[in-house]
Symmetry: C2
Subunit: 344 residues, 2 copies
Amino acid sequence: MKKLNSTEIAKLAGVSRSTVSRVVNGYANVPAETREKVMKVINENEYYPLLCGQLLAGKNTGTLGFFWISNAPIASDFLSSTFFIHVIESAAAYNYLILTSILKNLTDEENINWVKRIFFQERIDAGIFVGTNNNEPLIDELIARGKIVSLFDYYHPEITAPNLITANFETDTGGKVIDYLCGLGHKKIAVIDGNMNHYSSLKRHESYIAAMQRHKLEIRGEWMRYADIVESSGYSACKEMIAQCKKLPTAICANNDSAAFGVYTALEEANISIPDKISVIGIDGHPRSKFQKPPLTTFTFDFNQLFGSLVGRTIAAVEKQNDIISNEFFPGSLVERCSCSRIV
Amino acid sequence: MKKLNSTEIAKLAGVSRSTVSRVVNGYANVPAETREKVMKVINENEYYPLLCGQLLAGKNTGTLGFFWISNAPIASDFLSSTFFIHVIESAAAYNYLILTSILKNLTDEENINWVKRIFFQERIDAGIFVGTNNNEPLIDELIARGKIVSLFDYYHPEITAPNLITANFETDTGGKVIDYLCGLGHKKIAVIDGNMNHYSSLKRHESYIAAMQRHKLEIRGEWMRYADIVESSGYSACKEMIAQCKKLPTAICANNDSAAFGVYTALEEANISIPDKISVIGIDGHPRSKFQKPPLTTFTFDFNQLFGSLVGRTIAAVEKQNDIISNEFFPGSLVERCSCSRIV
DNA sequence: CTGAAAGCGCTTACAG
DNA sequence: CTGAAAGCGCTTACAG
C-alpha cells in the first residue's frame, strides 16, 4: 500500500486538502456526507497526517518530555522506575506521549545542551523533571524563555510563573514521623537527613527538628546523619553512627526508604536487631519496603496520584486552559509494619 | 531572547541559509573561518534548528519507539521497569531519544491504532517491542510496510526481512536448569511453564522436557503447571499443585522469577520449607530475587547487554548500515543462591 | 566553497 | 460549507 499525502487523499475523495484537514481534525463545519466520503478514503488508505507537516503549521507535538535527574545507578532503584510508568500511563490517558531522558545532573554543559535541544527543537510541548535541586539555573532559563516546566519536589513560594507547575510532598512529613515514634515512647531518636538541595529533604529536616523540640527530645549531634537516596549511602551513614556514637538511639528516621534499606544492613552487621534494639522508619512507600525482614514501617505517598496530577496540570497548561493550580502538596500516610517497637 | 530561524541566523552571520544548514549539520565543505563566524551567531542566539523543518526536509527523527505490551499491572513489576531504563540509556549513547507506550495487547483496535499512529505519523525512526506474542498481525503489517521493527523474545527462522531485528534468550535455558537440578540429585521435578505465545516460554518448555527425558526422569502430569509472568499467577499454580498432587516433587522450576516469588508464598503458606523440603529455581535474574528469603537461585540474563545490542542494531538499521545481525541469542548464567539443596 | 531555488506536508485565515 | 493561497523551517541537488 502506497503511503498517500493529504493532496492525494483530497483528490481521491473529490475535495480540497482544506477539507481533508478539517475532517482529520474533527472540525464541526463539515457536513456528515462530506465527512463520511473523506473518512472512507482515509480509512482505506490508512492515512495519518505526518507530524512534521502538522507541527510546521503550528500544531502541538502531543509529547511531554520526562527528565530524570539522578547520580544514582538508576536501573537498580525500583521506586524511580515506577515514576516513569505513572507518568507514561497518566499522559496516555490524555493521548499524550512521553519522551524520556536520564541525566546525572543539570549542571554539566552536555546535559544542559541535551535538555535545551529537546525543548528548543520543539520536540515536546512541556517538560517534567524529577530529581532536580531546588535551585537550577537551567530551569529558571527555560521558564524565562516561556517553556512549560513541571517539577516534582521543587518549590519557590515567590515564583508564580504560569508556565511553572509543581507537585510536592506535604511539608510536615518529618514531624509526623517523629510524632509516631514519640507515641511509641521513643525519646532517643536519630535522624538520617537527605540531600538539602532537594526541597523535600530540607522540609523533612526542619520538621524533624521542630517536632523533636516540641516533644522536648534531646537533639544529639552524633545522632544527626546524612545519606543520599541510595541504599549504600544509608548503610555508610548508619555504620558510621554506630562506630562513633557514645550512646545508641532507640530509633532511626531515614529520609527515604532506600537509605532505610542500608540502615537495615548496617544494623544487621552490627548484630543490632530491628525492632527489638533499634526501631527504623522510612519515608516513601518503596515497593521493596514490604519485602524487607522485618517489613519496613514507612510514611507512604501515593505517587500515582501525585504524578497523575502533575501530568494533568501540565497538559492543561499546554492546552492553555485557565485557572491551572500551579502547585500541590500531597499528603502521605503512615504504613505501619514491623520495624518500630514500643518502648516499655 | 527572541528565537531566531535559519534565515535570521544566516542574515546575522552574513551567509545563506544553505551555509547555516551545512554548519549545523557539520558538513565538511565549509572553511573553518566561515564555520566559526556562523557558529558564533548560532551560539550567541542558542539557535537549534526546529525538528519539524528538518523532518520535512527528510531528516530522521532521532527517536525510537518503545512499546511495552503487558496485561500485568506493570507498575508493580520491577524487572520490566529496568528494561525501559536499559533501552533509554543505550539509545542516549547514540544520541537517540525514546518515546514510550504501555499497551495491554496488540489486538485491540485502539491499541493497534495507537501504534500505527506513532509509526505512520513518522514520530519515530523505528519501534522496539517487548512482550509481544510470537505471532502478531500488527508486527507483520509494520514489517510489510517497511517500518523498522525490533523485538525482544520473538523469533521466526524463516523470516529474514532487513527491517526485522530481534534479541532472544538462548533456547536451551530450560535444559540447563534441569541439568543443574539433576546435578544436585533431584529426580522429582515440577515445571511451571509460561505463556506459550512467547517464544521463550515455548523453548523453555521444549528444553525442560528434552532434558528430563535425557535424564530419564518421570514426567508427571500433575507436576506440569502454568503461570504468567506475575507473582499471583505463580502462587495459584503452586497452590493448586500442592492441593492436587498425590506425590510432591523435590524441586520446582519456574518459567520466570516473578512466578517463583509466588511459589515461595504458596510453599510458605503450606509450611513447606525452601530448600529443605522443596527446591525452587527461577529464570531471569530479577532484581528482587536476591532479597527473597531464602535468596532465589535463578538462571540469569544480562538484560543491559541484550537491550544494548537490540538498540544498537536498531539504530544501525535506521542509519542504513550494512551487515546488520538481524537476530542474536543471548546466553544466561546460573546464579546460585540458597533456594536449591542437594538430595542426599 | 556558496547561494538561489525547489521541495517536503500540513493547517488556517480569508474570500466567496 | 469549501477551495485557493499563504505560510510554517529546514535541507539538498544543482549551478556556478
